[in-house]
């Protein structure tokens, strides 16, 4: 046993898979200690991109520091003038007849662009000449807006913040060189993975969902393995009619696609009972077949071995024979089967939830549910909110992958012919 | 003096383990066989007899590697030949091999007849399918095998039948040397007899010019082969005629082997049964001196230091021990 364990942990594939898996499990367990936020609290309306969000209001209340960043002015302009605006400027200048050959929307050319603009743009002039493509009022308003932006981002002009009303109103001036230390700002939040469509912190949600999905996988895997083990043992060892009946049942479960059964059973279970545990149980109850078959074939090859016959002749009870003579030999297969069942359990839950058949719950997110929300709320069709679904897919794939890798490693340990 | 069909001089081959270590499973082995004769090779599991068989084919694949020595079949030196040449001109035509557990030796999804075609075509002999079929049928008939076996799959034949078919296929090109590795170990007694009879017939009718029969069942060789050779830890420890080896072994190991086997043969019923204690040495690091010394009852301290060479005491009899023949025989006589 010790030797087997040593071999197992020396197998590179097993080790890698194990490490990946453990990292995930540990993250799930440790993360809540650091981030105490409730995963289902809504932080905003709709998708927010990953990043750090600082309250502007609180920033104004925080003590300021004077910092002179060398490229502050340029950065300000670059931020204020997006590509579309710059393109508009170039188009207008071109319409005016100005040579725009050396100009483009890049940051390097910003200075030249501004110089050309300041030299040529005049509001009255635009109104009078109605240059091609800029004849409408709307277009001219756009130009004016751009011009104001440019003027407004001038370093020398300060902003005023008004608090209160009327006579009690106080005015604070904010200079371009006023900076606040982000940590000192009362309210800021870092969202490495942004928010989902409900405005919930995706990362926290993801961690929680991984935990839930893992639990579902574990429960489903355990049920499926136990069931499979039981059926396999009985069918393999007892043979005869018992075998025929059990295999008939197994065949039905094989051929009828698992998830069809899942859907049907799930539906008949009813609305109220669709919690996490129900989901896990249902998955477990529909996916035991593979394990049963595997165990059965092993048991069949074992039951005619000498040590088993010896026990039979010695009059040992069925129970004792099975537990002492047969189980130890199939232990390795059972372990591998268990890992596979957990992996497929997690996948099954994800698929179910995606279809809307998963745990009908607003209390806990699962990996599949997050995918479902992403789908329903157009995370990949209308908004390009990759953070709402791509990390989920990655996590699912990694979980499955690490478990399968562990399995391959175990396979190599137990079947030496497969070793490289 | 009959022609020597097979001559092997100081053949050494090694296995290279995954850790890169060398294991010399066949260590400077020399032997020869005359035309029309058969040689049995006996020894414990792991003594190198199967490896020797593989090595004699001249066709090596990893992890088995040829190191040194010569193999001459009917005057042709095949050692060190290019593998592709060996494949086309040696395998099956000069020397043929019958594997252990021939049960599974054939592709389960190919009919016997088709398989024979594959073998013939692989040697690039210009024969048509009809010619091949005819030859196969004749061969089978000659060897007492039913012709319709050619149309069956190996799974459809009984164990004994399968073994005989495999032997027939191996010899279909009438090789000079036939090497059989435990051809009858997995069979029931009746099938064993049929297989052995078939092989002897092949030798007697000249279908094969010589035969090497490998087994761990020493007494079996008594009725089958002319000479017997005993191997231990990669080396030959004794050789003599079948009768000599069974009833009058010289080397302590050969003697130990004979006495540890229950044999209902005439003259051996009064012999006491003993086992040889201990296990063979690890060939990764072969011990100095005589390799059998650790388990030998008659060893003295010098045995573990001096490596005894293979001594020829005339009449084709050889043995490898530092103790003189007379001394050994005396000790044996006192024990019986």
């Amino acid at each position: 046993m010790k030797n087997t364990l040593r071999n197992v942990f020396h197998s590179p594939r097993f080790l890698v898979g194990f490490i990946i898996f453990m990292v995930m499990v540990l993250t799930v367990l440790i993360y809540p200690w650091f981030v105490r936020r409730d995963p289902l609290v809504s932080l905003g309306k709709g998708f927010l991109e990953p990043g750090t969000y600082v309250s502007v209001y609180d920033a104004n209340n925080t003590g300021t520091y004077r910092v002179e960043l060398p490229e502050a002015a340029e950065k300000r302009l670059e931020a204020t003038l997006p590509t579309e605006d710059r393109q508009t400027m170039i188009d207008y200048l071109k319409a005016m007849g100005v040579d725009v050959s050396g100009l483009d929307t890049s940051n390097e050319k910003m200075e030249d662009l501004l110089a050309a603009w300041n030299a040529n743009y005049d509001e009255a002039d635009a109104k009078k000449n109605k240059y091609e493509g800029f004849a409408t009022q709307a277009k001219r308003n756009a130009l004016r807006r751009i011009d104001n932006k440019i003027k407004g981002s001038n370093n020398d002009v300060a902003m005023s913040v008004v608090r209160g009303e009327g006579d009690d109103a106080t005015v604070t001036t904010v200079e371009g060189s006023d900076y606040v230390k982000v940590n000192e700002v009362a309210n800021s939040v870092t969202l490495p993975l942004g928010t989902d469509n409900f405005g919930r912190d995706t990362l926290t949600e993801l961690v929680k969902a991984t935990g839930v999905s893992l639990i579902i996988g574990l429960i489903a895997g355990t049920i499926a393995t136990l069931l499979g083990l039981l059926v396999g043992l009985l069918a393999g060892y007892l043979g005869g009619i018992v075998d025929d009946i059990l295999m008939f049942i197994a065949n039905i479960f094989t051929v009828i696609p698992g998830f069809v059964l899942l859907i049907l059973i799930y539906y008949s279970v009813g609305q109220e009972a669709r919690g996490v545990t129900t989901c896990a149980i249902v998955i477990g109850v529909t996916s035991w077949v593979w394990t049963a078959r595997s165990v059965r074939s092993q048991v069949i090859s074992l039951r005619n071995r000498d040590h088993v016959n010896l026990s039979k002749l010695s009059g040992h009870s069925l129970f004792r024979i099975v537990t002492t003579d047969i189980l130890p030999y199939i232990a390795s297969y059972v372990v591998m089967a268990f890992i596979l069942q957990v992996s497929s359990g997690i996948l099954a839950e994800a698929q179910l939830s995606l279809l809307g058949l998963g745990p009908k719950t607003t209390d806990v997110p699962t990996l599949g549910l997050m995918m479902n929300w992403a789908k329903l709320f157009g995370a990949y069709t209308s908004s390009n909110a990759w953070w709402a679904y791509f990390p989920v897919i990655l996590v699912i794939a990694l979980t499955s992958f690490s478990l399968n890798l562990m399995n391959t490693g175990l396979d190599q340990v137990f079947n030496p012919t497969l070793r490289d | 003096m009959a022609k020597k069909i097979l001559e092997v001089h100081e053949l050494t081959t090694k296995y290279i383990t995954r850790q890169g270590e060398d294991v010399y499973s066949v260590d400077h082995v020399s032997l020869d066989i005359e035309e029309g004769k058969s040689l049995g090779i006996a020894g414990e599991s792991g003594c190198g007899k199967s490896t020797l068989a593989l090595s004699l084919m001249g066709y090596y694949f990893a992890p088995l590697h040829y190191t040194s020595g010569e193999i001459i079949i009917d005057g042709k030196n095949i050692s060190g030949m290019d593998p592709d040449v060996v494949r086309k001109t040696v395998l099956g035509t000069e020397v043929a091999y019958i594997p252990q557990a021939a049960m599974n030796a054939m592709n389960p999804t190919r009919k016997v007849g088709k398989f024979i075609e594959d073998v013939i075509f692989a040697h690039e002999l210009k024969m048509t399918k009809e010619e091949i079929r005819e030859m196969a049928e004749q061969r089978f008939a000659k060897l007492g095998l039913p012709v319709d076996a050619l149309d069956k799959y190996s799974v459809e034949l009984s164990g004994g039948m399968r073994q005989r078919v495999v032997i027939a296929i191996s010899t279909i090109l009438s090789p000079k040397v036939l090497i059989a590795d435990e051809p009858s170990s997995a069979l029931d007694v009746t099938s064993q007899k049929m297989v052995i009879k078939m092989m002897k017939d092949m030798l007697n009718t000249g279908m094969v010019k010589s035969m090497i029969f490998i087994t761990h069942e020493l007494p079996l060789l008594y009725n089958v082969t002319d000479d017997i050779m005993v191997m231990y830890a990669g080396q030959i420890v004794e050789r003599g005629t079948a009768h000599e080896m069974v009833f009058d072994p010289i080397h302590p190991y050969s003697r130990g082997l004979m006495r540890s086997i229950l044999v209902p043969e005439e003259g051996t019923r009064d012999v006491k049964l003993t086992a040889i204690p201990g296990t063979p040495p690890n060939l990764k690091h072969p011990p100095a001196g005589c390799r059998f010394a650790d388990r030998c009852r008659y060893a003295n301290p010098s045995c573990k230091v001096i490596t005894p060479p293979l001594l020829d005491i005339g009449g084709g009899r050889t043995y490898r021990c530092s103790l003189p023949v007379e001394q050994l025989k005396e000790v044996y006589a006192s024990e019986d």
């Binding site: 696609p257 698929q351 390009n384 399968n404 497969l418 | 599974n104 999804t109 692989a122 076996a149």
Partner: protein
């Protein structure tokens, strides 16, 4: 002397032209038996399970369609009417009979949520779209996967060491994952392929080149996502099988008889493929499941979409019908594969001694 071996006429090759032997016939009988039984069981399950769920769909429909001023009497009338429509006023056996009848004349009754559209109407076209998509996709994936696995097993080099974990990773990506990623990368961002549907919306199905090219364009993404998923799993399995076969005794023996490696390789892969065919028969259920989910991602108008819509609107007759159809399709496919297997594995012909 030629020894007469057993010749119970096992080989009809001598008798006549039929390639069917007693062994095969036994095999077929067994398979057909299982097929029929499983079919019956599937139908029964498909009937019972949805009906076990609590809640009364009739009330839901009546609630939707009734006007606010209706009297209690009128409501009752409505309920009775719908109950009769759906045959819910009969007892369980009566309902089962209806169900069977519906199955056979292909009507499947009427949809609940899209009343009064019939179920057949809703699903009808979907079946063909699904078959057209999944059948080739699964087959191609299976073939490519096996090829890849065989290659990896043959060239046991660095190539293999790197490829194995990679294909393992790909097989770990869930079906919908691949679908979503392909959708986002190729359809939304690169705009190489259309985002949804089987053909441009508004087009009327016809045999015009316009329509067909549109179909082909829409076909690409769902097709390739299913293929990618199938490859990974098959490759890993085939590699293991091939390695196992490559170490078999007959390989060594064939070598010693002088047979070229190339020919031996052909033997090996042919033998390794056989269990893969069986494996396909077994896993086709799961593959279809994954493929259906992929359909929903692409809004591909196949069975997957019908089912998804039915689920979201709790339309039980449609759900029941789709699951039944899917089950039957998978059963048929599995059965066909079993039959094909009998023809390609010569051991089947011989295995059943009488």
């Amino acid at each position: 002397m030629i020894l007469p071996e057993a010749g119970h006429g096992r080989f009809s090759v001598e008798r006549g032209h039929s390639t069917m032997t007693k062994g095969m016939r036994k095999y077929f009988k067994k398979k057909i038996f299982w097929f029929v039984i499983t079919l019956i069981a599937a139908v029964i399950l498909n009937f019972i399970l949805p009906r076990l769920m609590p809640g009364d769909p009739v009330n839901a429909i009546v609630g939707k369609n009734i006007s606010p001023n209706a009297t209690q009497e009128q409501i009752q009338e409505q309920i009775a009417f719908y109950k009769h429509q759906f045959g819910l006023d009969k007892d369980l056996f009566g309902q089962f009979w209806d169900f069977i009848k519906n199955v056979f004349n292909g009507t499947f009754g009427v949809s609940y949520s899209q009343y009064p559209r019939t179920v057949a109407d809703i699903i009808g076209g979907g079946i063909w779209w699904t078959i057209a998509l999944q059948l080739p996709a699964i087959l191609v994936g299976w073939l490519l996967g096996n090829l890849l696995g065989a290659l990896a097993a043959y060239k046991r080099s660095f190539y293999d060491k790197a490829l194995m974990p990679v294909s393992l990773f790909f097989s770990a990506i869930p079906a919908f994952g691949a679908a979503v990623i392909l959708l986002v990368v190729f359809a939304v961002n690169l705009k190489w392929a259309p985002v949804n549907g089987a053909y441009t919306t508004g087009m009327i199905p016809s045999f015009s080149w316009n329509f067909i090219s549109s179909v082909i364009a829409h076909y690409q993404l769902p097709f390739w996502s299913i293929v990618i998923i199938s490859i990974g799993g098959q490759a890993v399995g085939m590699r293991s099988m091939s390695i196992y076969e490559l170490n078999a005794d007959y390989v060594k023996y064939a070598r010693f008889l002088g047979i070229k490696d190339k020919k031996i390789v052909r033997y090996v892969f042919r033998n390794a493929m056989l269990p893969q065919v069986t494996g396909l028969a077994m896993s086709i259920g799961a593959m279809v499941g994954g493929a259906l989910v992929a359909e929903t991602i692409f809004s591909y108008p196949g069975l997957g979409m019908s089912m998804y819509n039915a689920i979201t609107t709790s339309d039980y007759p449609v759900i029941s019908a789709t699951t039944l159809i899917i089950t039957i399709m998978v059963l048929l496919a599995s059965f066909l594969l079993d039959i094909i297997y009998a023809f390609i594995d010569p051991r089947v012909k011989a295995a059943q001694f009488d």
